[in-house]
């Protein structure tokens, strides 16, 4: 018999380690194993405790330290308790989901190789090994898989380009520098099912003929670093990784711009994370000048399922040119935050009002930022937008890495626009003048607008500055920062017609001192 206490960073941040220690101590005489899986993804229930029963796992949550004494007497019988949630498969947050990539996260022990194999792990790789590299790439192409990091570039095309590029060495680089606020799917996946990511990278290596892989993982994720480190060692001892293809873990150093693929490559090479001009594409000349596939964690983690179940199954989900499922992350001021993997096509309103259950604060939701700090702020009037790359582009927004951050009616969108500019100023790599200097000017212009200094004229300057940033920047940091600013201006103009509400909420002390 097993008891599961979530070991995901979100659960640990709420006291799951203390809960697990108490339960372990109490159950030790009865030789019951306490497993620490990743998160099931329903975050209001963390720390989550589950017990194995003949009819499936029964969940309790949230269980804090002080709840353990009342839980212990009923836990093994899955008895009644105020925090009893029942079988999560029947919980409203889960019934509408379609988990392909996250099927095992929260279920298996992320440290256990046998758990991984017993739950369908390595099936994709087994299929891939029976195929020619070009056949693997054809299956990825046919699945319609697009880069989940935000750009949405067809993964098969990127692989094909790298496979056909001449080079003595080729690399698979996993972008695990998940810096966008409101996103945590990469972290959850790495903490909950690390072998899936490794399997995806091994399949990519087979397809393009790579001999070495890198996982570039941000330093802000210490638990994911620990899980991946352990998983890589296990993958080596189990033969999944070997001299013919091994993976090295590299830790970021707090630079947001290193989530941009060329800055990330510079960083692995031991340099400042300054963006490169493209061309050459990384697929032609990437890491150390060699053909390189740079894919996001979720892109690589989608690969084993596509190989195991067939590309037509994956392509059978979704809408338009957005095929398959998207692990959407519901965050910020929502009652039901968490990881919600569904086929593309749900509307923003369904995600926020129905799945997300409205605001946590109980106040009306006024704005939703989709796609991280460089994503647009959408008002309620745009809640009918379906979650789809093209549909969001058409409304001057982006889905990015799938983060949805809700704000209630206390939000000041002029302050949020200022924050976007200030964030860009702090995180700019400095290569492009509009991003390096324009972002600082943007903060100043917004301050003048909010301070009612030539407001009308400065609003024109701000719009002009956004144009310059959009067309004068090499990468998405400077190029996309107009999204939050212009959407705030367009949909919430009244916020720019008044003085700041309180002490400047977008103030970023400390970092800009460097």
């Amino acid at each position: 018999m097993k008891v599961y206490v979530s070991g995901d960073a979100a659960a640990v941040a709420l006291g799951a380690d203390e809960v697990a220690a108490q339960i372990t101590a109490a159950l030790r005489p009865r030789s019951i194993t306490v497993v620490r899986p990743g998160s099931r993804g329903y975050l209001p229930a963390e720390p989550l405790v589950e017990v194995e029963t003949p009819t499936g796992r029964v969940a309790y949550g949230p269980i804090f330290e002080e709840d353990v004494p009342s839980l212990l007497p009923v836990l093994l019988e899955a008895g009644p308790h105020p925090r009893r949630l029942g079988r999560l498969e029947e919980h409203p947050f889960f019934v509408g989901q379609r988990r392909l990539t996250f099927a095992r996260v929260g279920i298996i022990d992320p440290r256990s190789w046998s758990d991984y194999r017993d739950h369908g792990g390595l099936e994709g790789l087994t299929r891939a090994r029976a195929l020619a590299p070009s056949e693997i790439i054809a299956r990825i192409n046919n699945s319609g898989l697009r880069g989940r990091g935000g750009a949405g570039f067809p993964a098969g095309l990127k692989w094909k380009t790298a496979a056909e590029a001449p080079g003595a060495r080729k690399f698979i680089v996993c972008n695990a520098d998940e810096g966008d606020s409101g996103t945590f799917a990469d972290r959850m996946l790495m903490e909950g099912d690390p072998f899936l990511l490794i399997e995806g990278m091994v399949i990519a290596a087979l397809a393009v003929g790579a001999t070495r892989g890198y996982i570039y993982l941000r330093s802000e994720y210490p638990l994911a670093i620990a899980t991946i480190t352990t998983a890589l060692a296990t993958a080596r001892s189990e033969g999944l990784l070997s001299a013919s293809f091994d993976i090295e873990l590299r830790i970021g150093a707090g630079a947001y711009v290193c989530g941009e693929e060329t800055a990330l490559l510079e960083s692995i090479e031991g340099k400042r994370g300054v963006v490169r001009a493209k061309p050459p594409l990384p697929a032609h000349q990437g890491l150390f000048g060699c053909p390189t596939v740079v894919n996001n964690v979720l892109t690589l983690a989608a690969v084993p399922h596509i190989l195991a179940s067939g590309p037509e199954v994956y392509a059978g989900f979704g809408m338009g040119r957005s095929r398959g499922t998207m692990p959407i992350q519901l965050a910020g001021n929502l009652r039901h935050t968490g990881l919600y993997e569904v086929p593309f096509g749900l509307t923003l309103g369904q995600l926020v009002d129905e799945v997300g259950g409205g605001s946590l604060s109980g106040r009306p939701i006024r704005a939703v930022q989709v796609g991280g700090p460089l994503g647009a702020y959408f008002p309620r009037a745009l809640f009918d937008t379906p979650f789809d790359y093209e549909a969001f582009t058409a409304k001057k927004g982006l889905i990015g890495h799938g983060g949805v951050v809700a704000f209630d009616d206390t939000v000041d969108l002029a302050a949020q626009a200022r924050f976007a500019m200030e964030f860009c100023a702090v995180e700019s790599c400095g290569k492009c003048t509009p991003c390096r200097i324009g972002s600082t000017r943007g903060v100043e212009v917004i301050d003048r607008i909010r301070g009612d200094q030539d407001r009308a004229a400065n609003l024109v300057v701000l719009k002009d500055l956004c144009e310059t940033l959009r067309f004068g920047s090499l990468c998405a940091l400077g190029g996309f920062v107009p999204y939050p600013v212009e959407s705030a201006l367009q949909h919430f103009p009244e916020d720019f017609q008044r003085a700041p509400q309180a002490a400047g909420p977008g103030h970023l002390p400390g970092r800009s001192q460097r």
Binding site: A9, A10, V12, A13, L14, G15, L43, P44, E178, D180, S181, G182, T183, F184, D186, R187, M188, S219, E220, Y221, P222, L223, E248, R250, I251, G252, A253, G254, A255, S267, I268, E269, G270, K271, R272, G273, F288, Q329, A331, G332, N333, T337, Q369, P373, G403, V405, A406, F407, D408, Q416, F419, F423, C429, P505, L508, P509, G510, R511, Q513, R514
Partner: protein
């Protein structure tokens, strides 16, 4: 992390040896040195430059580019509190002000007795349970609610 001590070339050489097989090993070596010594002192910059056959300007350029690398020692404990949008939407600004008051130090500053440093961080991936913080690498969430007391306990306050 958080502690600081005098730079020791012999110890640095031992740490760097573990990274001698890596291509482009500058960041891993800097992480190792900062993990051991608490910061990247000027003599560490010179030592790394010599070791990797780089100019001191190149090493300094990398140290100053990345927010993680310190060119002066931090407090014995480092508290990183998230300032990004998802935590803002859940009350991060108010929580930051509370932490500043309870810890007696402003965001971005180190306490005069060097006991702690309070820093901003932009996303810890705890966006559904924020506001969030890291105390010496240990995550804390729900700082608008029950998490604040846990976090302060973790800081020893």
């Amino acid at each position: 992390m958080g502690h600081s001590s005098d730079f020791d070339p012999a110890e640095a050489a031992r740490l760097a040896l573990e990274h001698s097989h890596q291509e482009g090993a500058l960041l891993p070596i800097l992480h190792a040195l900062q993990g051991r010594f608490g910061w990247i002192a000027p003599e560490a910059v010179a030592w790394v430059a010599e070791r990797l056959n780089l100019s001191r300007a190149e090493v300094h350029g990398v140290v100053s580019f990345y927010h993680d690398f310190r060119d002066h020692p931090a407090g014995r404990q480092v508290i990183k509190v998230c300032q990004a949008e998802a935590c803002q939407a859940r009350g991060a600004r108010h929580v930051t002000a509370q932490l500043e008051e309870r810890l007696g130090v402003k965001l971005g500053q180190t306490a005069p007795d060097r006991s702690l440093t309070l820093e901003p961080v932009y996303c810890l991936g705890l966006c559904g349970n924020g506001p969030a913080a890291l105390v010496d690498g240990r995550p804390y969430a729900d700082l608008s609610g029950r998490g604040l007391a846990r976090c302060l306990k973790g800081v020893g306050r």
